[in-house]
């Protein structure tokens, strides 16, 4: 009864909240295709693909042949950075899930002495800001000659990534019944096949969520990549940040779109596995 009277106001409030929140993404879309968008025009008078051409993401008009499209692959800084970001992101994701699985199982299913301390240690990087450890790490990585290498950067990304992977998976293991594994063993499955046919299907949704956060957290790192990559590992955020403080708006907008598209896509594909209740959503605070 009271609800019905409030409806117009209710829809207005919801619309205002949602539109305000998506405005940044909308401005990227406008800016990416705007041409000579002078103040105080609210909507650009002219549109163009000029910024995309300048970043060598599409060939210039009139030259859009297959060979020219393929030629972009080697020549565009943005595509190079995209590939570097992807390689690091996927590598970090795979590695973190593989080493996080046993740790999560130990924390989720077993009681042992010093468990609280281990939990505290693994979660510490979620609270302590990156700047506090990366400065010391930077010096050591230079000494160990890991600085400036893809491997070194991926290794550092593990620090903010591991807590979320372990947190997600240990939550799954806490609700997991190991009797199924024993049942499989008594029915004649070896350890590997037990893992493949029994354990993995049961924890699969958790693995998807863990992988999602691993990828997104790695994907969005700027400071760690900047300090450890030492100017030699150019990921998308590095490229974007460099042009953000004084580039052409259209170019910045195009790079921003390219940067956020895979992240939104990953979330869309995996969202059905994601429930807001798992401790892992804390990972969104880190992106």
């Amino acid at each position: 009864m009271t609800v019905r009277n409030r409806r117009p106001f209710f829809y207005l409030a919801v619309a205002v909240i949602c539109i305000l929140l998506v405005l940044p993404v909308i401005t990227f879309m406008i800016n990416a295709f705007a041409f000579r968008w002078f103040y105080p025009q609210f909507i650009p008078a002219e549109w163009s693909l000029q910024a995309w051409e300048r970043l060598q993401l599409i060939p210039p008009e009139g030259e859009r042949t297959l060979t020219n499209w393929l030629a972009l692959l080697g020549s565009s800084d943005v595509i190079d950075a995209l590939v570097v970001s992807l390689v690091i992101g996927v590598g970090v994701t795979l590695f973190s899930v593989v080493i996080g699985l046993p740790a999560a199982r130990a924390l989720g299913m077993h009681k042992f002495r010093g468990k609280r301390i281990v939990e505290f240690m693994i979660l510490a990087p979620t609270i302590v800001p990156s700047i506090a450890f990366v400065l010391g790490l930077n010096i050591n990585f230079i000494r160990w000659e890991l600085s400036g290498s893809l491997f070194g950067v991926a290794l550092v990304h593990l620090v903010p990534v591991m807590p979320y992977v372990v947190l997600t998976l240990s939550g799954v293991f806490a609700n997991y019944n190991p009797d199924f594994e024993d049942q499989a063993r008594t029915l004649g499955a070896g350890p590997l096949r037990t893992f493949w046919y029994v354990t993995l299907p049961a924890i699969f949704p958790g693995i998807v969520v863990a992988a999602l956060f691993a990828f997104l957290v790695s994907w969005s790192q700027y400071l760690l990549t900047f300090l450890i990559g030492a100017g030699r590992v150019i990921t998308l955020p590095i490229l974007l940040f460099a042009s953000a403080s004084g580039g052409n708006n259209a170019v910045i907008a195009v790079m921003s779109l390219i940067f956020i598209a895979p992240a939104i896509l990953t979330l869309l594909v995996t969202s059905r596995y994601l429930s807001g209740e798992s401790g892992a959503v804390g990972g969104f605070g880190r992106i």
């Binding site: 929140l21 940067f259 429930s275 807001g276």
Partner: protein, 290 residues
């Protein structure tokens, strides 16, 4: 067969090695360096000089203290305002209505968008030639860009706070929506049948139920906003300057002695974060108990 005794340590080992070596090791190493221990340039003695320089020297003290207050202000304001806005939004979005799916999707769209990108979005939106200024001009509220209020790169950190709001409202929102959904509306119905009015249901039922989740996500948000670099770098001013930006500038200074000061500053950031997190948890727990 691996002995039972070693099974759990072995399961934990790979993760712990990463964390201990890369995180705690670096933290410790940074701490030693902040005490002036830099064997590569021949300093093997310990001193608190770097801390004294940052905190009290006439050269830096004004910069440090103004930066500290700015950082605390920005983090606390971002955390509280976004938590409050998110709670309001979640209370709206949990209802059933036509278009709920789309609204929820749009509400959560910024979750995977990195802070760096949102900061750039703020420039597009709120700079003096940004979308907001153009809207104001179209409405005849201003006639030249300079009349639009300075919201970015301002001494009060408004631009930085705005960027955090855009990121953290959806973050708090998803946590709150999940809690509200799993709790259901039965507690509120019950309180209502026992005579609680709308405000009383909010104060005595909804708030205590969401408080634990709100608290733990506030800690994440606070710690993040306190120590992050790229947002204040893009949207802040040189004076007062947020602490993480200041720390990195010290560290990247070609003068290797400034490195100790950078380390000291980063240790101070870590210590203050921990201190405020602990205080916040303590206060929050008391608020829940009451």
């Amino acid at each position: 067969m691996i002995g039972e005794r070693w099974r759990i340590p072995l399961m934990l080992a790979p993760t712990l090695i990463i964390i201990v070596v890369l995180f705690f090791g670096s933290l410790g190493y940074g701490f030693l360096q902040s005490l002036g221990w830099q064997p590569n340039i021949g300093n093997t003695t310990f001193s608190l000089d770097a801390y004294a320089t940052v905190l009290f020297s006439p050269e830096y003290r004004e910069q440090f203290w103004s930066g500290l207050w700015l950082t605390i202000w920005v983090s606390l304001a971002s955390t509280f305002i976004s938590a409050a806005l998110a709670l309001m939004s979640a209370l709206l979005l949990r209802q059933t209505f036509i278009g709920k799916k789309i609204a929820t999707f749009l509400f959560q769209l910024n979750l995977p968008v990195p802070h760096l990108v949102i900061a750039i979005g703020m420039i597009f939106l709120f700079s003096q030639s940004g979308l907001a200024a153009r809207a104001a001009a179209q409405l005849g509220m201003i006639s030249t860009p300079n009349e639009f209020p300075v919201m970015l790169r301002d001494a009060g950190g408004v631009g930085i706070i705005l960027a955090y709001l855009w990121k953290e409202v959806p973050f708090f929102g998803i946590v709150l929506l999940a809690i509200l959904q799993s709790v259901g509306e039965d507690y509120e119905d019950l309180a209502r049948s026992l005579g609680a009015n709308r405000w009383q249901r909010f104060r005595h039922v909804i708030l205590p139920l969401v408080m634990p989740g709100l608290l733990s996500s506030s800690i994440i948000v606070f710690a993040f906003t306190f120590g992050t670099y790229e947002v204040p770098k893009l949207l802040g001013v040189r004076f007062p300057e947020m602490l993480p930006v200041m720390a990195l500038e010290f560290f990247l200074n070609p003068d290797l002695n400034a490195r100790a000061e950078g380390m000291a500053l980063s240790m101070i950031i870590a210590a203050i974060t921990l201190l405020i997190v602990v205080a916040y948890m303590w206060a929050g727990n008391r608020a829940v108990q009451r």
